[in-house]
């Protein structure tokens, strides 16, 4: 039945997968903003772990660096802009939940069938770069320099826009 070898990588994969899924599900089902943001953090860290397993260590730690900061900021907004006096529970809609369950099961069936049918024949072995930080840097400044610069401009525009909006409010 279990035609997989039980290696450290396999166990790590399942730990991270459970972390991502639990985080995502809890994010949707919890009601307090701070709790939701924290489960989001668990999902992000699980993703970073997946990147490590795929030998993309640069991406993994950038993921933690960026999203840990983002989660902190989101948490502060959550604390400052929502009220904590027990959000009233929505009245349950039975048919709504039933439909959602049917839809989810159908999607699962479809995906499961597709995955079982798919033919994962051995493609050429993937050789990760020796130093993937270096590889990413070289690609960014050669092949992808235009998209990279465009994204930088976009970020700068967003940044200046945020300052202008905040200034208008302060006056």
């Amino acid at each position: 039945m279990w035609n997989v070898e039980l290696t450290g990588e396999f166990i790590a994969f399942f730990v991270f997968a459970v972390m991502i899924i639990t985080g995502a599900v809890m994010m949707l089902s919890l009601t307090q903003v701070v709790h939701m943001v924290l489960s989001l953090l668990a999902a992000f860290i699980g993703m970073a772990g997946m990147f490590v397993l795929l030998q993309a260590e640069f991406l993994a730690f950038v993921q933690v660096l960026i999203y840990a900061g983002a989660v902190t900021i989101l948490m502060i907004f959550g604390i400052m802009m929502t009220n904590h006096q027990g959000e009233g529970a929505e009245f349950p809609r039975a048919w709504h939940e039933g439909l959602a369950a049917v839809g989810a099961l159908a999607l699962f069936g479809l995906l499961f069938y597709a995955i079982r049918q798919a033919d994962f024949s051995q493609v050429t072995a993937y050789a990760p770069a020796e130093d993937n930080t270096l590889a990413i840097g070289k690609l960014l400044f050669t092949g992808y320099v235009v998209p990279f610069e465009l994204v930088s401009v976009l970020l700068t525009v967003a940044f200046i826009g945020a300052i202008v909006l905040a200034k208008k409010e302060a006056d």
């Binding site: 450290g8 307090q32 701070v34 709790h35 924290l38 953090l41 260590e57 640069f58 730690f61 950038v62 933690v64 660096l65 840990a68 900061g69 989660v71 902190t72 900021i73 948490m75 502060i76 604390i79 130093d131 993937n132 930080t133």
Partner: protein, 336 residues
């Protein structure tokens, strides 16, 4: 240690890794115990006091007694606190603090993990502690704790930016983010270490690092005269000890990181002093950085919140960016 990391993970190897982890944990706990003693003693002398001198010879057991007191103290959780998060926060603060120590090389051959992106790993993990501090402040359901947590988040995020950019100069000079190679590439003479060629980066790094550590003059998150104790007001006993431990483990981490990045790591200051083993030089430099942090605490008053933000965004950030620019121009003109 290095070759073993590339072997497959058998039960024997897993046991060895665990044992080394425990050894490091004990070393760190020992460091924290005596760093606190040393800090109290040094600040005492600087202020013409005697410092702790009652428990054990020369007061050496004072911190041990303090820790014992914290461990057997009643553990209180406020009734209106968010119980789960209140319990989670100290652990979430400590785990990354201990985790970052994995990438620090002590000598050429004595290191725990040899990661290509060691520096990035350090910065990324230390960001998680910020979340734990905000969380602790929020979960306590106390206005002082919340204010302390918010200040901490604002401060740590605004100083993380210059901290990261200030080391970019070092990364550009060494061409790697692997801390072991960065240490290796600094020469035998002390003027070849990174702190002289990268003097702007070094100064910005030290200031930003002190701020990241929440130590005087940047200890606003726990300003006792305004906030009682900041984010850990409601914590007592064991959980409070964890927050303190986190703080001192970061002192250890930052001192070691400064040593490796800027002060030549395990290299001797003069080439003919090579015969002294590298670990001695590492420890000497490490101890000087720790002493410097304590000295600073005894000397400086606390700065105001607006000055803190002004310093971070208007002085340190442009300086560190200028450092990156100057380094790039220099490398382009003279090295290539």
């Amino acid at each position: 240690m290095g070759d073993r990391l590339n072997e497959s993970l058998s039960w024997g190897n897993a046991l060895i890794f665990t044992l080394w982890g425990v050894v490091l944990l004990i070393l760190v706990l020992g460091f924290v115990t005596y760093a606190i003693y040393f800090e109290r003693k040094v600040i005492g002398w600087m202020q013409h006091r005697i410092g702790p001198n009652r428990v054990g010879p020369l007061g050496l057991l004072q911190t041990v007694a303090d820790i014992l007191k914290l461990l057997i103290k009643e553990d209180t959780i406020p009734r209106k606190a968010d119980r789960v998060l209140f319990i989670l926060a100290p652990a979430l603060a400590y785990v990354p603090a201990f985790g970052v120590l994995a990438v620090i090389p002590y000598t050429q051959n004595l290191y725990f993990a040899d990661i290509n992106v060691g520096l990035l790993y350090y910065v990324a993990l230390s960001g998680i502690t910020t979340i734990a501090i905000v969380l602790g402040g929020w979960a306590s359901n106390n206005k002082y704790a919340l204010l302390g947590g918010m200040r901490s988040a604002a401060q740590m995020i605004s100083y993380e930016v210059p901290l990261v950019i200030s080391v970019v100069g070092v990364i550009m000079v060494s061409g790697t983010m692997n801390l072991r190679s960065i240490g290796e590439q600094q020469g035998d003479w002390f003027w070849q270490w990174n702190f002289l060629p990268q003097i702007i980066g070094f100064v910005v790094f030290i200031i930003a690092a002190v701020s990241e550590l929440n130590r005087t003059p940047f200890d606003l998150p726990e300003a006792e005269s305004e906030l009682v104790a900041g984010y850990h007001v409601e914590y007592s006993g064991f959980r409070f000890a964890f927050f303190m431990l986190t703080e001192y483990v970061y002192v250890y981490a930052i001192a070691a990181l400064t040593t490796v990045l800027f002060l030549g790591g395990w290299q001797a200051p003069l080439a003919f002093l090579d015969f002294v083993p590298g670990i001695i030089w590492f420890l000497l430099k490490f101890a000087s950085v720790v002493f410097f942090l304590i000295w600073l605490r005894a000397t400086m008053p606390r700065i105001r919140v607006d000055q803190l933000m002004g310093l971070g965004w208007k002085v340190l950030l442009p300086l560190s960016l200028a450092n990156v620019f100057i380094t790039a121009v220099y490398l382009e003109l003279f090295v290539k």
